[in-house]
Amino acid sequence: MKINKYEEMNAFAIDMLREIGSIGTGNAATALSTTLSAKISMSLPEVKIMGYNQVIDFLGGPEKIVSAVLVHMTGAFSGIMLYLLDIDFVNIVFERLSLDKIEHFDEIDEIRASAIAEVSNIIISSYANAVSQLSSIPINLSVPAMAINMLGGIMSVPMSEYGYVTDTIMIVDGKFIYNGGEMTSNLIMLPDIKSLNFLLNKLGVFNE
C-alpha cells in the first residue's frame, strides 16, 4: 500500500504519527526543561490535515506576528520542520534566562533573537532525534533559518514547497505546559509524501 495524499491515511497511520509526535514532543519538552531549568510538561499531540486557509486560522490567523525557525530535513527522510513561538512563550524564555520581557515583537534585539533561535534549535533537534531513533531512519537537519513576521507569510513557505503535490497540509502539533499554563508554540513536522510512505512502511503500518 502507498499513499499519494495526506488525506489518504487511515486511522492506524494517523495514530502512528500521533505516537511519533508524542515521543518527539516529550523529548523536546525534556530538552527545554534542562535549558530553562524549569518544569515543562506537554499535551498529547494532535494530527490534523487541513486546507491552506484553514491551517492558518487554526494557528491563530494570517496577520498574527510569530517567531519562526525553519529547518529542512534531508536524506532518506526529507521535509520541513517549523517551530512557531508566540510572544507569551518568548517571554517565558526571557524570564528564565534573566532577560527583560518585551511587549511586542518589534522590540526584539540581537541577544533576544539569538536566545529564541537557540531554544528553537534545541527543541527541533531533540524532536528530530527522537523520531530518528524510534524509526531508525537517519535524519539530517539543515542550518536553521529564523524569521519574525506574519504567520500567513511564514506558512506560505511550506505550503508552496508542497503546492505541486497536495492542496492540504498535515501538521503534527504538540504543546508545552509551564506553571500550569499552556505555552503557545507549535512544532510542526512536515514530511514530504515520499518520506511519509517510507516512515509508515518502516514502522509496519502497511503490513497488516
Binding site: 491552506y52 494570517p62 524569521a147 500567513g152 514547497e161
Partner: protein, 161 residues
Amino acid sequence: MSKEITVGIADMKFTRMEGRLITYALGSCVGVCLYDPVAKIGAMVHIMLPKKLENGGDGNVYKFADTGIRATVRKMEVFGAVKRRITAKIAGGAKMFDIPGGGALGNIGQRNVESVRQTLKEESIPILSENVGANYARTLIFDCSNGQGNIRSFGRKEVIF
C-alpha cells in the same frame, strides 16, 4: 464603509464599482490586482506557485501564476471588462527565510514574481506598480472604486501604491 472581500490563498475574487479586495499576509505568494478603470471592475488573485505543470491533474487554476492570471482576465471580460484597458499592480514574492545554501525552493517568491511578469507581458497587460521581494509578509488591499492599492506589513509604514 464599503464592503470588504477577502481573497484566500490560491483564490480569486472580483467586484465592480465599489468594495475593497483584501488578501492577508502574502509571503512567497504574489497578489495580482487587475483593474479596468472604465468599467471599474477589479479583481485580485492570490497565487502560490509560478506555473501549472503539464499534467498537473485537476488542481485549482488560481494556485498558479500563468493559469490564475488568464482565468481571472477571462472572468473579468465575461463581466464587461475590456482586456486592452486592464492594468495590473502586484505585491508579494518575498523570501521569508534566508535559507543558507539556497535550496530548490529557497527563492520561490522571486520565481513567482518572474512568472507573473512574464504572463502579464504575454497578455499585454501593463504593470502600473509593484511592491515585491525583500523578506517580509504583506497584506494587500485594493480599492475597486479608484484602483488604489495599499500594503500593510509588520514593523513598517503602510504603503500606498
